[in-house]
Each structure stands twice: as C-alpha cells, then as structure tokens.
C-alpha cells in the first residue's frame, strides 16, 4: 500500500465556449470579449490508496461530477494528470479523448439514462468484456448470469430490455456492467441519488458487500452527507472546483475544520432536534465563470478577513494530520480581532 492506486495530480478543467463568427466580429468592433470560460476544476490533487472508498462531497456545480468524468476518461483534464497505478487513464485532446484503461469503471446517477434502451441487459453487460477479450462465447453467458446473481437479480433477466426493470434493478444492472470489466476502481457519480430512500439502502448495502468481496477501490461522489458517512473511509469536501478539506470520515464528521464544511453539516436537517437545527448557508454559490478572488468561499464565510479576499488558501496538512484549505488554520485571516479559536 505504498503507491496509491489512483493519483489525481494537480488537475484543472476549464470549459471554454468560443463565440460564433458574428459575435467574434462584433467583439472586434466593440473591443469586448464574449468568450466564456467555466472553471470547473482548479488544481485538484488527491491520492486514493488501494481498497479505500474516497468520498467527494459538495454542492451541485462544485465540479465533483467533472472530476468523476475525468477519472473515468470521459473528459481530458486541461492541466494535470490522472494516473492509475502510475499509468495515465486517458490520452488525447479534449473532445477526442481515448481512454486507455478498462480498470476504471463508472456508475452513473440516473439508471434510466445509463442503459441503452434497445439493448438486452445481458448484451449490455457482456459487450465491454467481450470486445476486450475478457470473456467469449458460452463463457460470457455464464458470466452474465453469475454477475446478475451477484448484484441480486435473476440470471434469466439477461434477455430482458431495460424498460422492464425498476430504477433500483437498473442500478444493479449498471453495477453488474461495471463489474463485468473487472475494474480496480469504481467511480460512482451520485449512484444512489435518484433512487427512493429504501432502494438507496439496498443498493448501498450491495455496494458495501461487493466492495468487501472484490476488494474494490472507489470514488464515491455524492451530495448526501449521511450516505457518505456510511460508505466512505476518507472524504474530500469540494467548493467551486477546489478541494477545501480532506479527512477521514470519522474525524470530518466529528470535527469539521473548514467553515464551509461546518456550514454544510449545519445545513443538514436532523430528526429530533427541532427546526432550529436547519441552517442554510447564506448567499448563493458564486459562478464558476467568474470565481471570486482569494478564497472562493469568502463571500459566504462568516469568518472572512482581508487575507481571504486577496490570497487563495492552499490545501495544507494541519497539525491534526488532516488537510484543509483555509487561512483560519494557516496563520489567520488578517482581520484585527480573531473571531474564534482555531479548532483545538
């Protein structure tokens, strides 16, 4: 366990939209610039050791899905590199990315969209392994049945079409499809978010069982803090394209250090404690097209000082052995009075 299985090394992703010919002509005349660049990810570095489930948490628009897609080889990073076992996951320019490995597989959020509606589920499961020579002919049929049973479905379902299944069953099929490729790393992008709560629990338990059986490493992307706590070993909190805090799930939930993490936990409605427990984060998430200078969270942060408006905090290991990107824990915010003590 010396070398981490997955290395995300200083990955940035910008989506730019070049304006049309007419707009560009107008731009030249008026001296404006209509080119739009979305900063989806900025300088994200994460290491995931073999066997670990790493949670990625954040509000919608924070770049967590983009990160998942880059790790799965669907997008090419603008800067930086993603490596599995020291080898790059994908190569090629954006828009024409060639994924190089079959050992990273992805499970999508919406099981109603992630299965080809015109392909029998058995074929969907066997297609990838067949094309990559992992299974052939009669063996493939056996393996598909075995995979279906492994995810809690009947082997005979292989001949059915996706529309004959419920959401939870479809998500199981999607998991079977990913497992058929014998992956080492699974990327689960909000894999249970679109399911009913009771079905969520079933699918999560299935995932936990499979993880134990197959010794899987996983990137678990979610906005649901309680699910993440249940499933993940370590958790990275993301805000506006950056990782702001990284800690083991236990520590993070016990003592959040970054003000954003704290606010995120405070915004979770809890049972039993009454209405007062629900505290939304004030303000809107800023636009990734024009991110605020300094710390991206400063417009919404109750502790923000002058330094936060000017200087981008770096993700630094704190004395407690966790990583946090906040000036509060790195020499102060630059305001006169210290609004609170650094978490002891």
């Amino acid at each position: 366990m010396t070398e981490p299985l997955l290395q995300i090394d200083a990955v940035s992703k910008r989506f730019s939209r070049r304006p049309g010919l007419l707009t560009r002509g107008l731009d030249r005349l008026t001296g404006t610039d209509s080119a739009v660049t979305v900063h989806a990810l900025t300088d994200v570095s994460l290491d995931v050791p073999r066997g670990e489930v790493m949670g990625i948490v954040g509000e919608s628009g924070c770049g967590k899905s983009t990160l998942g897609r880059i790790v799965s080889g669907i997008y090419a990073p603008t800067d930086g590199e993603v490596k599995l076992d020291g080898k790059p996951v994908a190569q090629g320019p954006d828009g024409n990315v060639q994924k190089l490995t079959t050992r990273v597989q992805m499970i999508h959020q919406d099981p109603f969209a992630s299965l080809n509606p015109r392909m029998k589920v058995g074929e969907t499961i066997a297609e990838g392994p067949r094309l990559h020579g992992l299974m052939t002919g009669e063996e493939a049929r056996q393996r598909v049945r075995q995979l279906l049973r492994q995810v809690g479905l009947e082997g005979a379902y292989a001949n059915r079409l996706p529309h004959q299944f419920s959401g939870g069953q479809r998500q199981r099929i999607a998991i079977a499809r990913a497992l058929a490729m014998e992956p080492e790393l699974l990327v689960l992008d909000e894999a249970v978010a679109s399911l009913d709560v009771s079905i969520q629990a079933q699918v999560l338990n299935l995932f936990m069982d499979l993880r134990r059986e197959l010794d899987l490493t996983a990137l678990f992307i979610s906005h649901d803090l309680s699910v993440v706590r249940h499933v993940c070993d370590r958790v990275a909190i993301m805000y506006l394209g950056r990782v702001v805090e990284l800690a083991t799930a236990e520590e993070l939930y016990a003592r959040p250090m970054h003000p954003y993490t704290e606010a995120l936990f405070a915004s979770v409605p809890t049972l039993g404690t009454g209405r007062a427990a629900f505290k939304p984060i004030k303000g809107e998430i800023p636009s990734p097209i024009d991110p605020p200078p300094g710390c991206a969270f400063h417009p919404r942060c109750p502790f923000a000082g002058p330094r936060c408006r000017a200087e981008v905090p770096r993700l630094k290991p704190s004395p407690q052995g966790r990583s946090v990107a906040c000036h509060l824990h790195d020499g102060g915010t630059g305001s006169e009075e210290t609004p609170r003590e650094v978490a002891a």
């Binding site: 994924k99 969209a113 509606p117 020579g133």
Partner: protein
C-alpha cells in the same frame, strides 16, 4: 471476435441457435403489435400486392406492353373493359399505341419501385453516415456537414433533381443518383437531430467510458436509438422518391421511352385528358397515389410499434 472460429463444432450450435430464436420472437411481437391497426394491415397488403404485380409483371400482365411486335395500332384508345384484337379484355383500356393499360401500369410500377427503393436505401445510408458523424464528433465537422445539408434543404428537391438529371442525362442510374443527392439531406438532418439528443445521454457516456470502440458506440448504441424517426422518414422518402421520379418523367426529363414509368404514362395521357379518353392519365395516377399513400400509412404504424416506451 474470434469466439465462433475457435469453438469446437459441438458448442458452435448453441450460441448461434439462441439469437435466431429471439429474433423470431421479436418479429412475432412486432407483428402482433403492428396488426392492431386495420388500416396499416390493409396498406401493407396493398403494398405486397403491388410489389407482386410489378416485379412479377411479365407473369401476371396480359401483354408485354413494350414488345412493339405485340402491339396493334387498331387497338388504340379502346375504353376500359373492351375486348381487343388479342382476344382478351383490356380492363383499364388501351393507350394511343394500342398498349394494354393494365400491363403498362404493372411494368411502370416496377420501374417506380426499383427507383424509389434503391434511391431511398442509398439516401438513408449516406444520410445516416453524415448525420451520425456530424452529431458525434461535433465542432467543425458538424458545422461544415450540417451547413451543406441546410443549404440543400433550402432548395426544393424537385429543382435540384431537375438540374442533376439535366446534367447527368437520362436513365435509371442517373435518376437514382439525382434522387439520392436530393434526398440524403432529409435523412442527415433527421439523424443529426435525433443523434444530438441521444449523444448527451448517459448510456453513450457509459459506452465511451467502458471503453468501446467509436464505431461500435456509433452503430450499436447511437444508431439503434435514432432508427425510429429514420424509418418513418425512410418510408416518406421512398414514397416521395417515387413521386419525384414520376414528376421528372412527367416533365419529360426522367426516363427514356425504353424505360416507361408511371410518370411518363400520366404525361402521355395528359394530352388526351380533355377528350373523353380519361383512362390514359387517370389510372396510372390512381396507382401512383395508392402506392404513395399505402407506403406512408405503413411507415406511420411502424413508428408507433417501434417506440420502446410503449407498453406491450
């Protein structure tokens, strides 16, 4: 894959038998859904009959209308139901050269079908390739291809076909080529529209991240999901290819006299439309109309049946 080549003779039969069986059941399901519309069943029957009489024209028609030796000018302009010199009833009458109209229509229909089907199939294939390429790869390729298609769609198909036939000359091959050039744009546009919707869906992303080869993603994942609108467009376009060819022939730039079609028959009879010899134009016209309408009705029902979200 080499799975069939490497397996032994004993196991070879097992995998090949299963898909054939499921294909048969799929066909049976399709038919049981299709026949829910009586109009569509009648239309299909009409098309089958028309296909039979046209491609079997030498067998079923009473006369070879283009064997000049068999024609007798004494039989010219006989009304429907008259017995001519051949000793049989001219059910739909004869034309100005003494041809049996029914036989001429069967032969003309054959020409129409050959042109309509081959032009439709070729235009479909080319249109699919253009549309899928544009939608999947996007960017400059998409812009270039779709602007060409748009340019073409802004012109009436008949105008384009007229110009092309004028340049290429007469003959079945030339007509088919002209129709393909005029019609592939409809398929390309439809494919592009449907594929643009589909390409953003997660199952395409899932296929790409497996990863599957691009060609497989295009033809096994994208194409089957854009097929339903294409099948409908295809039937409409076969019908309109038949009508276009008839129009070109009616205008006199279509087929040479040695390859008669419904269009040239209508054109020929048109000269006599103001006399009482109505049958020269009317009957080929009726056959043309029945053919086009029947193909359209079948296409409509096929679309209904092929919708995967429709419950069985």
């Amino acid at each position: 894959m080499s799975d069939t080549a490497t397996t032994t003779g004993g196991t070879l039969a097992v995998p090949s038998a299963a898909p054939a069986e499921t294909r048969a059941t799929r066909l049976r399901n399709f038919w049981s859904d299709y026949r829910r519309s009586p109009v569509a069943v009648v239309s299909l029957a009409v098309i089958v009959v028309l296909l039979f009489v046209s491609f079997g024209a030498p067998l079923v028609s009473p006369q070879d209308p283009y064997d000049m030796a068999a024609l007798d000018w004494m039989d010219a302009f006989l009304g429907p139901g008259t017995v001519g010199s051949g000793g049989y009833v001219h059910v739909l009458g004869t034309d100005n050269a003494g041809r049996d109209m029914l036989s001429a229509i069967f032969y003309g229909l054959r020409t129409s079908f050959v042109i309509g089907l081959s032009a439709g199939a070729l235009a479909l294939t080319i249109g699919i390739c253009v549309g899928l390429t544009a939608a999947y790869f996007g960017g400059r390729i998409e812009a270039l291809l779709m602007r060409i298609v748009d340019l073409q769609l802004s012109m009436p198909a008949i105008l384009l076909a007229l110009v092309l036939v004028a340049v290429l000359g007469q003959g079945i091959g030339q007509i088919v080529l002209a129709l393909v050039v005029a019609q592939y744009a409809y398929f390309a546009r439809t494919t592009h529209g449907a594929a643009t919707v589909e390409r953003g869906k997660d199952y395409i992303e899932a296929a790409r991240s497996t990863p599957l080869p691009t060609r497989r993603v295009l033809f096994r994942h994208l194409l089957p999901n854009v097929m339903p609108p294409l099948i409908v467009v295809a039937t409409v376009q076969v019908a309109s290819a038949i009508a276009l060819e008839a129009t070109l022939s009616f205008l006199g730039v279509g087929l040479p006299l040695t390859e008669p079609s419904l269009g040239s028959m209508i054109s020929n009879g048109f000269k006599y439309i103001h006399t009482d010899r109505y049958w020269l134009s009317i009957y080929p016209g009726i056959f043309l109309m029945i053919t086009v309408v029947a193909i359209n009705l079948v296409g409509d029902q096929v679309r209904t049946v092929l919708d995967p979200r429709r419950s069985r």
